[in-house]
Symmetry: C2
Subunit: 252 residues, 2 copies
Amino acid sequence: MTGQLAIVGLGPGDPRCLTPQAAATLANASDLVGYAPYLARVPGRPNQRRHSSDNRAERERAHHAAALAASGRCVAVVSSGDAGVFAMASAVFEAIETGEPAWRALDIEVVPGISAMFAASARIGAPLGHDFCALSLSDNLKPWAVVTERLTAAASAGFVIALYNPRSRARPWQLGTAFDLLRPILPATTPVAFATAVTCPEERIDITTLGEADPELADMRTLVLIGSATTRRIDRQGMRPWLYTPRGESAS
Amino acid sequence: MTGQLAIVGLGPGDPRCLTPQAAATLANASDLVGYAPYLARVPGRPNQRRHSSDNRAERERAHHAAALAASGRCVAVVSSGDAGVFAMASAVFEAIETGEPAWRALDIEVVPGISAMFAASARIGAPLGHDFCALSLSDNLKPWAVVTERLTAAASAGFVIALYNPRSRARPWQLGTAFDLLRPILPATTPVAFATAVTCPEERIDITTLGEADPELADMRTLVLIGSATTRRIDRQGMRPWLYTPRGESAS
C-alpha cells in the first residue's frame, strides 16, 4: 500500500486556529474529501482534486476516501473542529474495519484540531474547568433513550455538559426536552451558554441560566454548554459575563 | 485598564500542534507566566520577561498574572494542551472573581489549544467517536468519593472516558482502584489505551483491555482512555492496532 489517508480537523472556522500540522497535511494532499462547506475553507492548490459530498453521506465518503488512498493517492478527509469528535475519524475507521482487508495496511494519520467545544469554552471563559462530558443530542445514530440516560447521569454526577448537534430543522424538540429533563436535577441558576458559529464573523454567544434557557437560541451551528452546580458567573460592567468552573470541589 | 491577559494553550508538545493564534499571542506578550517546563517550550523573544513557578502554585501564579496585566503589561499565561481543560484558565478566572474588583475590566482572552485528550485520541484512532467524558483522577482538589461517583456514572451510561492525572508519585493507588471500580461495570475486553508524552519524541502508546490494564503503565505524563462497550479494536499485521468508537449505537 503506497497511498496515504489523513483525517484532518480544520478547527472551528478562524484560520488562526488551524494548526501548522493540519495546514501542511492539506497542502500535501493529492485529493481532498469532505462536506462541501468544510472543503470551501481549505485554500486551493494546483493539481489537487476535490471530492465534496453531502453532510449525511459520511459512510460513503469514508469508503471513497479509503478506496482513493488504496489506489495510491494521498488523501485528506476534512472535518470541522477536531476530526475525532462527532466527525469523520470514526467513520473512516469504520470503513477500514468493514472494507477491503488490504485497507488495514494503509498509512493512516489523524490530525487533531481545535474542537468546537474548546473554542466555545475559550470565548465564554473556562466553563469546562473541571470534569466534563461531550454529548451529541442527535438521535439519528442512537436511540433518544440513550441520550436521556446519559444526560441524567452526567448532570446528576456533576459533570459540565457540552451538547453537540443540539438542534436542527429536522430535530426541533430535543433541546427543549433536554432542558426539561435537567431542570429537576440542577439549580435553575445553573449557567447555560449558547455558542453559535464560534470564531466566525457571525459568531454569537448567549449567556443565560437553565431556568431561562430558550431552545430557540440554538441552530445547527450552535454548541450548548450547561454548567455544573459549581459553575460561576463573573458579571462585568458593559460587557458579557465570564463563566468558569472552579477546579476544586468540596464533598456534595 | 490598559493591560492584557491571555491564557494560552500550547498543545501537547509537538510545535506543529501550536496554533498560529497561540504563536502570535506568545510573540506579542511582554510577560510570560507559567510552570517552568511549559515556559521552556516557548521560543525566546528580546525584552520579554518570564515568570516561572512550581506546578502546584496555580493560585499564586494566576493572581500574579492578573496583577501584572492590571499594571499595564501584556501578559500570556501558558498551559500545556488546552488552557481550559484541567489547566490555568479556570485558575485565572477564579483570581479575577476573588481578586481586585478592577481586574474585571481587564482585556482577557483565552486562546484554545490541542488538548492532550484529542492528541492522544488521534494517535490511537478515533476512540472518542461518540459521547465521552474527561475526568481528572486527582483527589487533590476534590474528594475521592466524587471521583468514584463520576467514574461509575460515566461508565454505566456508556460514555468513553478520558482520565487526566491518572497517577503520580504522590498518588500511586488511584488508577488501580479506578480500574477495579470499572471492572464489574464494563466487559473485560473493553479497550484501554495508555498514551504517554503524546506527540513528543519520547511518546509511548500502550493498547490493552480493562481486564489486563496495568496501572504501572501510567505516569504523570499519561492520559488513559477507557472505551465504552461499543469501542472496537482493528488489528493490523506488524503494527499497533487502531481503536475507534462507532458513531452509531443501538438500544442497550
